[in-house]
Symmetry: C2
Subunit: 464 residues, 2 copies
């Protein structure tokens, strides 16, 4: 099968936003009972971020060199993370409703930025209309076949002393699983995907798509989405091997967690905080040296056809993990090296909002802190400057965007790799030790090189 992924993704820098915590606009009217902005996050409280807040901070996002925003769910949902979808056709009123998303899409597109939404299609919520009908009517419900439910009555809000009597995601009663074997459900979910594509979004990040264990479902999903926009990006949340979905007929790529773990293991080798990892989506991470890291990254670069690897979503952290800076014990150098690797590796880098200013954060919910717009002194200006520099370098260096990946030297703390594309070749030298290291650069020809970070010329002379 001819595999094609969107070209724009290969050159993109993504920015992931957790909408309740990024920014608030005074133009969006809020519910009365919010947690003050910036307080330690809780599982249940809202802090009141919204999509017009994002519009009003597009300058910041653009200045980071970001070309695409991936949003955690934005649809109406009785949860601050909005994974408990209540209505797939309505943007949450606290986020500003459909009008705010309209403004956001238009404002982002006007800057040449893409917008990717999170599609939570495996399960709905207890308040979702058709499930609500099942709760109210039992066997008489018109939507009896929309869920895997029975015998009745169901026990949606009881503790485990009563069986829920319906299938739910990981047994969580809050998240009743759709019966995607029912044609009306399939059509409903596909229509949601098409509806928002027609509203102008540029792709879908798919939440736990492996739980809909049905290749035909995803094939038809792809056909419909690509019929509206052949350049749409379809990226699945698959934590392990994703070969099944990356044959060219389902997803374009996946969230590259196999990229994440080695980046913690190598750059954080000396400072890694595994208590935090273990409480987070990442799980325990064994430290590793440059050899192993180089091998794993070489492997990841060849795990799928190049067309797909170039479109992988490479992330250091997300709303599901502790923040990278915290996972590496607050080691800013490790964070900077990891960012450097992320921005110079094969695949689309995805920055998690706040990482660019060194926002710390433990496992969920702590990794979802409010962006401290009003506490600029708390920002790490070095990290911010580095991110801006690295994205700028990437954007003018096709070798970083599309070049192949070749490890030239990998030993102990020291890693050297090359990215070459056409006649251009870029080299990256990394040292994770706390002191200087010497390495023989016998892979480099003698001559003048430009240091991408400083802009200065570096002369490599032949070893005599």
């Amino acid at each position: 099968m001819d595999i094609r992924t969107p070209d724009w993704v290969k050159d993109a820098v993504f920015y992931q936003i957790f909408p309740d915590r990024f920014a608030q606009s005074s133009r969006v009217q809020k519910a009365g009972h919010l947690q003050p902005w910036g307080e330690p996050p809780s599982f249940h409280k809202y802090q009141g971020g919204d999509l017009l807040g994002v519009v009003e901070h597009l300058d910041h996002i653009a200045a980071l060199g970001v070309t695409a925003i991936y949003f955690c769910p934005v649809f109406q949902s009785a949860s601050n993370h909005r994974y408990h979808t209540h209505d797939y056709y309505q943007v949450d009123p606290m986020l500003g409703g459909n009008a705010a998303l309209r403004e956001l899409i238009d404002a982002a597109h006007a800057r040449g930025m893409k917008v990717v939404l999170d599609g939570v299609f495996n399960h709905a919520s207890r308040g979702f209309f058709q499930f609500s009908d099942l709760l109210e009517q039992g066997e008489d419900s018109a939507y009896l076949d929309w869920f895997h439910a029975g015998p009745f009555p169901l026990s949606p809000y009881d503790d485990d002393s009563k069986p829920a009597n319906y299938a739910a995601w990981w047994g969580n009663r809050a998240l009743p699983k759709f019966n995607t074997g029912t044609q009306a459900v399939r059509e409903f979910l596909w229509d949601v995907a098409e509806y928002w594509m027609r509203q102008g979004i540029d792709g879908w990040r798919l939440d736990v798509p492996n739980e809909i264990d049905d290749d035909d479902f995803w094939r038809e999903f792809r056909r419909r989405v690509k019929a509206i926009d052949p350049d749409a990006y379809i990226v699945g949340e698959i934590w392990g091997d994703a070969g099944r979905w990356l044959q060219g007929d389902q997803f374009d790529a996946v969230m590259n967690y196999p990229f994440t773990r080695p980046c913690i293991a190598y750059f954080g080798a000396h400072t890694i905080d595994n208590a935090m990892n273990e409480a987070s989506g990442t799980g325990h991470v064994e430290p590793m040296g440059a050899e192993q890291f180089g091998a794993r990254m070489t492997e990841a670069a060849a795990a799928y056809p190049l067309e797909i690897v170039q479109a992988q979503l490479n992330l250091l952290d997300s709303h599901d993990t502790a923040r990278y800076l915290s996972v590496v014990g607050g080691d800013q150098t490790a964070h900077h090296l990891a960012l450097t690797f992320q921005l110079t590796y094969l695949g689309a880098p995805c920055l998690y909002y706040g990482d660019e200013i060194g926002l710390p954060g433990g496992p969920d919910p702590d990794c979802r802190r409010a962006f401290p717009w009003n506490d600029v002194p708390s920002w790490n200006r070095d990290t911010l400057a580095l991110v801006r520099k690295l994205t700028a370098v990437r954007h003018v260096t096709p070798a970083f965007q599309r070049g192949n990946f070749q490890v030239l030297h990998a030993q102990n703390d020291l890693l050297i790799y090359a990215r070459s594309h056409g006649s251009e070749c870029a080299y990256v030298l990394m040292n994770t030790a706390s002191e200087a290291r010497m390495a023989a650069l016998n892979a480099l020809d003698a001559g003048d090189y430009r240091d991408a970070l400083s802009g200065q010329t570096v002369t490599v002379v032949a070893d005599t």
Copy 2:
């Protein structure tokens, strides 16, 4: 206060539709698990009527002389009667969604018909978004002050072994009562009213408005609705004395149940089925003779200023009562007399769908049977012909629409009343006995009169 009610109501003939049971259109895709059309109604099952079905039967409605349709709730709701509102901004998908209401409003208006919707503003449902948030987040909910709730957790689906811990309509856990003391809730409900007015509806029938015990709430409701359309009709469901709401600053009129009971008591005096009344919204009804009936109707005609009485919604039955024909023991003559009185009395007559073909029906849910479009032989053609005749007479007889009401003779089974308007005077003679009665018509001058039903001339000669 200057009291003004919409002129169009004074000349209107209303038709009340229960949307799940009026008509189905093949253009609306249905959920899979419906009860077959025409089976005995149940509390929980759907039969799948929709709004395009109404559009496709506007010929029938127009031929009845109907000029305004009052719909039981149409918004997304997990209940076949749709009083359990799930989303006030969405027409139920099974009814065809917002697009179907758009088509219906346009089609009705093209025929000069008005559209009045049922506004259920006192309470929402367990699946309603903001209440759902309360169920999910408890005290951390952003919408904590939208309902009267606590202590937490709430017990929405438990039986009475646990307290619900929130206020609900008549203690029904399915219907959590809004906290209309919260400004955001007030604004939400007013906005709903305004939104649908801007979509072109012609008024609101208000469900249990007395339960929102707050005149200022309704005053502002009226201001906003009338600002969009000064001719909007606001009619409250008030079963008893409605003076409080009929001062000119809240409702235009109310559902005239004080009209309903005497119509059962007098026309049904010989056949009344009180077991049925007692199980229905009407309650026990003592038979009465013409004297008492005449007195009660004279009283009702003077209960409020004329401007309001002319705009009262006069009904023989509704979705909340057994059907009139069944309440009077299936006595077709009583039904025909009652229809005649309804169509010749002061105030806007409201026909309940199906009554025009003699559809029987006991208390809820039996009074909500599907309209038997496919069983035309079951229709009572005499009743249908009478309704058409009576509405036609009313439309060409301003005295019936707007004239005053004066009882000329009321004794035992015999009732004679006059409706006079300007120089026109119409007389109605009724006999509820099963044989002919003689009466002295000394209130009528000698001369020629036109019998409105037959078109023939009747000559009254002076008694010598």
